[in-house]
């Protein structure tokens, strides 16, 4: 027994070793691919040591005196620089968008010191939401803005709107409702309009124009933000060359004209585009067309002393807008800003009117404040994260302090009336030094936060490739392991791969890049080649073994590894992997996974039918030889019990269940003509008048009852629910309790919101808490006592077993004494040896028990709407298992095609991932799951993270828990496969008694060997999927949609595989536990 335990633990070790590879590769790849930045919640305040306001004594202004009292920010979505600049070239005039904004040109030429135009460069991703974050906070975009409240899109970082509001100013807003999501509750007046419908060109713009002028005239604001969407929608719909763009731009021109006419003294106007558009009118990526927006600044008063040569427009970054507008309005610069002020806008004010030196000094002042703010930000960032390179950082800070010193000296010199020309030049050089500092910091941060690390990405992919080959190797040697042998090549393989992984981990976490990285590549490649060779050899080995062992088997069975079915499975795997590289396939993965699953189910059932016909053909031959008569009468019962008929019915049922999941799918943004499932709606929001609420609720309850009833009836049928052991009691009494609590919880959740809010907190959370606790309790109880068997006490009869036999023999003896079938209980003859209920399904019952618990918990987390979907999951798994069992019975050597079963299971998992209302996008994560049984005030993030993970990857968890049934079910005589067996070969039944999955215990290594093969296949398929997601993400890293489609797809795939692996490991441990407990139990029984 100890030996088998050790064997199981060895396999556990191998799996953990593989998982180490997987985790290392994913982490390394993520390090290179996912750009991340920690958001800091601090805000800039007026009272900082480096800024003083008393210098000029003017009204308003915090770090610097305000040169403007009011600002109007007009954002014209997708306003490209091309649209704003004036072209004198007549030929170009033919393009529809050229010179459609003459108002800007007129202002630039007529009032050169009042108006400025800039090329306004956006940081990719050039999507409106990301851009608005940049334009208001001055920070760089990343994939994970790991902020504190990750649930909503609300901006957590400091920004100039909040600075304004904090100083008691009013902000008005008109336009795209994205702003309301970013700044909920900040605007004194807001006129939001939905931005989603791209086909609608005018609703938003006309809605704005209805209110704009009256609102501007009211003068009860400091900042008015107007966001027009028409140009962007025109671009999406028709492209930039269509005349509609021209019309839209002309309308915008009129708007600019009207606003400038309305403006009074002290008001400054910014007209800007959040991003450009490509030749097809789209945006999102980083091509020049998308990145080049325009910024136009106009003031009623003079805004600059230096002016701008016509046609010579400077290029500034979008984040530069943030410090500029902040200082112009006399606000502190937002805390996490990285932008640089636009110097020209700071050289004119009442104080510096006449002297050039004063103008330059004024500019230097603004730049200095900006530089000190950035240095302050970087300081505090370095305290919480070690992302930034330390050496460069200290170097930059040193240069800044030197510049500061020089400035101080110069200022004292200035007061002592030194030579004017020299001071002037020195100011100019200081200005340059500040600008250099700001730009170097920007560059440093950009490098760290916005550049892909190709080396790490390649290393990650390489590591995963090694892991995949290792997995293939393990699959290849698993037939040997089934016989309890470890091949010699294994040691060599594990040593080489161990060297590789240690090298990789050390290199990535401790060493700098350079020569060592190259070494890692070489080592990885050598490992790949070596593993390839070993696998080839291992294949030969196991083939040879098989040939030796299985002389009886026909040639066909041997060539099974290269059968049509396996080629087809490979084809499906390749297809699903290739799908990751196409954005439309990722978007429509919902339908594609259903399609592929249906295909595989059909293939499996076709195989079953085929096996049946082959055996029929063979038996026919025998019968002909015996000249026995064949009865081919068509009787109803014959048809119903016919394996082919049963297979077809089960296939249809399974396919139908898979097809029904469509009703539970959520939509992702990119899917056109898609309507969110009604089941995703919260129960509260359904109308109770039409009865929809009640119908939904009771339907869910019925589904939940069936969900519990299925495993209950199965276990009862197998006789696992006898006696009074704790797990049995849990199954009998705790589960119904859970069910009732779940139902009541949903009913509470279905109450109107105001009723719900008036309830005390404990009343809202007590019901789900009961479910959580009793789930954990039932689980613990099962772990203590994992055998759902019951010995019928028979006092007069006891087992008398001879001692001193080999353990293998002992088992058989015990078995002969133990009657499993509980029907024997009723044919109660007194000579019978002790009756043990449920021994034939020890393993199966364990899996079913855990499966029931898990699915109840998942139902609670998923909410009432998704319960039918979980039930569908059970139905399809069960019917699929029945098909497999029929197939196993038809193939007499009882070898299952593991690959197709596992692959089908895997595809079903992804079907049900979508079928439980999820999508592989960040916005579709259902955050409300974190509040099931908790009331929101978490002290740490672990509990809500676990709940959300369970909710999101419910399908993965459920299906992985049920995975061992692929192995166990064919032994445990399912309902339908049982019938078909009775029909087909009635005499076989009496010959060998039904032993159920107890057979697996008798054969020492078979359970663990096949279990290992099964797990290896699951790991392999998951690794392949992650590999293709990785490759797709790195291949498309410059793709327009990388942050919307490919990166989330990779993240979801990686997390889903990790969850699958962890669950798999736990399930395997459970099986081991059952196994060892069974061993102990039997020895105890024998020694009695």
């Amino acid at each position: 027994m100890v030996a088998t335990m050790g064997f199981g633990i060895k396999i556990l070790g191998i799996i953990c070793y593989l998982l180490l590879f997987y985790i290392a590769s994913v982490l390394i790849f993520t390090k290179g691919f996912l750009l991340k930045r920690v958001a800091i919640d601090s805000n800039s305040s007026c009272n900082v040591d480096f800024a003083r306001t008393e210098e000029h004594g003017e009204t308003g202004g915090c770090w610097m005196h305000a040169t403007h009292q009011r600002a109007i920010v007009v954002i014209i979505d997708a306003l490209k620089f091309e649209f704003m600049v004036h072209h004198s070239d007549i030929m170009k005039n033919k393009l529809s968008y050229i010179n459609k904004l003459p108002e800007i040109h007129n202002l630039l030429t007529q009032k050169p010191k009042h108006a400025l135009l800039y090329k306004f460069i956006a940081d990719p991703p050039t999507t409106t939401l990301q851009r608005l974050k940049g334009i208001t906070t001055g920070s760089l975009p990343t994939f994970v803005d790991a902020g504190s409240n990750f649930g909503s899109s609300e901006i957590a970082e400091d920004n100039f709107l909040d600075q304004l509001i904090r100083r008691g100013k009013k902000v008005k807003f008109l336009g795209d409702d994205t702003w309301l999501g970013l700044f909920p509750g900040r605007f004194s007046t807001a006129f939001p309009f939905p931005s989603f419908n791209v086909h609608d060109l005018h609703t938003v713009d006309n809605g704005i124009l209805q209110h704009l002028y009256t609102e501007l005239k009211k003068k009860d604001w400091t900042l008015t933000i107007v966001h027009f969407l028409g140009v962007d929608h025109c671009g999406h719909r028709y492209g930039p060359l269509h005349p509609a763009i021209g019309d839209k731009l002309s309308q915008m021109n009129q708007v600019i004209g009207n606003i400038t006419a309305l403006m009074e003294k002290g008001t400054v106007l910014f007209v800007l585009g959040d991003h450009g558009m490509t030749a097809t009118g789209d945006h999102g990526g980083d091509s020049q067309d998308e990145v080049e927006a325009g910024l136009f600044v106009y003031g009623v008063d003079q805004i600059t002393a230096s002016g701008q040569k016509h046609g010579d427009y400077r290029t500034i970054s979008q984040i530069d807008f943030v410090p500029t507008i902040s200082l112009l309005l006399g606000l502190p610069i937002p805390f996490s800003n990285l932008g640089q002020v636009v110097p020209e806008l700071f050289d004119h004010c009442s104080w510096s009117k006449e002297s050039h030196i004063k103008q330059v000094y004024h500019r230097v002042q603004a730049l200095r404040l900006n530089a000190l703010q950035i240095s302050h930000y970087i300081d505090s960032y370095m305290k919480i994260s070690r992302d930034l390179p330390e050496e460069l950082y200290t170097e930059l800070q040193l240069s800044l302090s030197l510049t500061e010193d020089d400035l101080q000296k110069l200022v004292t010199k200035l007061s002592s009336h030194a030579e004017v020309e020299e001071v002037h030049l020195k100011f100019h050089s200081l200005e340059k030094r500040y600008i250099t500092y700001i730009q170097s910091v920007q560059g440093m941060c950009r490098d760290v936060w916005a550049k892909f690390d190709l080396g790490a990405m390649t290393l990650g992919i390489l590591t995963l490739l090694v892991a995949i080959l290792l997995t293939v190797y393990c699959i290849k040697i698993s037939p040997l392991i089934c016989e309890g042998k470890f091949p010699g090549s294994a040691i060599v393989v594990f040593i080489t791969s161990f060297v590789y992984i240690v090298h990789i981990i050390v290199q990535v976490s401790f060493l700098e890049r350079g020569m060592v990285l190259f070494m890692a590549f070489i080592l990885g490649l050598v490992d790949l080649v070596f593993l390839g060779i070993t696998i080839q050899k291992a294949q030969g080995d196991s083939k040879g073994e098989e040939l030796k062992n299985l002389t009886k088997r026909s040639y066909f069975e041997l060539s099974q590894t290269f059968s049509f079915e396996n080629w087809f499975n490979l084809f499906v795997i390749v297809l699903s992997m290739a799908g990751y590289f196409s954005n439309s396939f990722v978007v429509y993965d919902t339908s594609i996974s259903v399609f592929l699953t249906q295909t595989l189910i059909l293939m499996v059932s076709f195989k079953t039918v085929k096996e049946h016909f082959r055996t029929v053909k063979e038996t026919h031959k025998e019968m002909h030889a015996k000249k026995a008569r064949t009865s081919n009468k068509l009787r109803f019962s014959n048809i119903v019990q016919h394996p082919v008929f049963l297979t077809l019915c089960l296939t249809f049922f399974c396919s139908f269940c898979i097809c029904l999941t469509k009703n539970f799918q959520a939509c992702r943004e990119e899917q056109v003509n898609c309507i969110n499932s009604r089941f995703l709606e919260r129960l509260v929001n359904l109308s109770s008048n039409t009865g929809e609420k009640n119908i939904r609720y009771f339907f869910s309850i019925v589904c939940l009852c069936i969900l519990v009833l299925i495993p209950y009836l199965l276990l009862k049928h197998y006789g696992n629910l006898n006696g009074t052991s704790l797990p049995v009691l849990c199954m009998k009494y705790a589960m119904p309790l859970l069910l009732v609590c779940c139902a009541l919880h949903w009913a509470v959740q279905g109450l109107p919101q105001n009723v719900l809010d008036s309830m005390p907190v404990w009343q809202q959370i007590v019901l789900p808490r009961i479910v959580h606790v009793s789930c954990i309790f039932s689980l613990l109880v099962f772990l203590i006592q994992p055998l759902l068997v019951y010995i019928l006490p028979q006092n007069h009869k006891s087992l008398s077993l001879p001692y001193g036999q080999s353990s293998e023999h002992l088992m058989h003896t015990v078995y002969r004494h133990i009657k499993v079938n509980w029907q024997d209980y009723f044919s109660n003859s007194k000579d019978k040896p002790p009756v043990v209920f449920g021994l034939g399904t020890v393993y199966t019952s364990g899996v079913l028990y855990i499966g029931t618990l898990v699915s109840l918990l998942l139902c609670l987390l998923l909410g009432d709407g998704m319960t039918p979907s979980v039930l569908l999951g059970w139905f399809s798994v069960m019917s699929f298992l029945e098909i497999i069992s029929i197939q196993m019975k038809a193939t007499q050597d009882a070898r299952l095609n593991m690959l197709s079963a596992v692959l089908t299971f895997h595809l079903m998992t992804s079907v049900f991932f979508y079928g439980t209302g999820h999508q592989a996008t960040i916005p579709s994560i259902r955050w409300e799951a974190a509040f099931v049984g908790f009331h929101g005030d978490f002290t740490n993030n672990i509990v809500p993270a676990i709940l959300i993970l369970f909710n999101t990857f419910a399908a993965q968890v459920l299906f992985t828990v049920l995975t061992p049934l692929i192995l166990l079910w064919p032994y445990s005589k399912g309902i339908f496969s049982g019938i078909s067996l009775n029909n087909k070969s009635g005499k076989n039944e009496t010959e060998s008694e039904w032993k159920g999955d107890f057979v697996l215990f008798e054969n020492e290594h078979k359970l663990k060997g096949t279990m290992m093969e099964l797990m290896m296949y699951i790991i392999l398929i998951n690794e392949l999927q992650v590999l293709s997601a990785m490759c797709a993400a790195s291949l498309h890293r410059r793709h327009l949609m990388v942050w919307k489609i490919f990166a989330p797809r990779f993240v979801f795939q990686a997390v889903s595989s990790s969850i699958t692996f962890v669950t798999l490991l736990l399930v395997y441990l459970l099986i081991l536990k059952i196994d060892s407990q069974l061993g102990k139990w039997l020895t105890k029984l024998c020694t009695k």
Partner: protein, 224 residues
Amino acid sequence: MTDEKTYYTARKVLKRTLAWTLFCSLASLILLFIPFNSGTILDLVSNCLVATKIWILVILIQICFICKSVTQSLPSKQHSKVGSLLKYVAVFLAIVPVFYVITILFGAPLTESRAETFHFALLLSVAGTFPGLMTCGVNLNEWSRIFVLSSPENGVEVVAYWVSLCSIFGAWLGAFPIPLDWDRPWQVWPVSCVLGTLCGYTIGLMLSSVHLFISYYKMVRQKR
């Protein structure tokens, strides 16, 4: 002597089937690609339903011709015509809804474009099961021998085997371009699937002629 005779009849059958199959495959190839995107009545993209109907007829005729060519040369294999015809029709009528349901299960729209789905199911059952129906009728054992255990005998059975297999596989492959965002007119359901079925059908005919040719070649060489 009888050996000689059976050999020659078999050879003759093989030759005839081969000739007919080749002819049919060429004909369908021409029919498939010349009107493609032409806008005429045979163009699948613009007149999907009509073109599908025409194609169903074409396939029926072609299969009938191929089978007829063989049964003519085999006078011993006569069926009672009316009875068998009725049986065929009944089986066929049962198969169409099965394909319809399978199409829905694989993800075809349930409520919209029902006519298109029905036509596709009709086409699929014609291309996928009619050849089998013509060769083995309603004999389940024959069916299982040819299609499930994939061991067709020379002659029409080879044609039936390849044509059915390739048509269904083609229809399956035809579904893949649908989600792509190319916005082509032939990506609309069920055009690409119909196209896939027809391509599969044509390729099936070609493959079966290759198969037949190889077995004919072997036969001739064996004789020598």
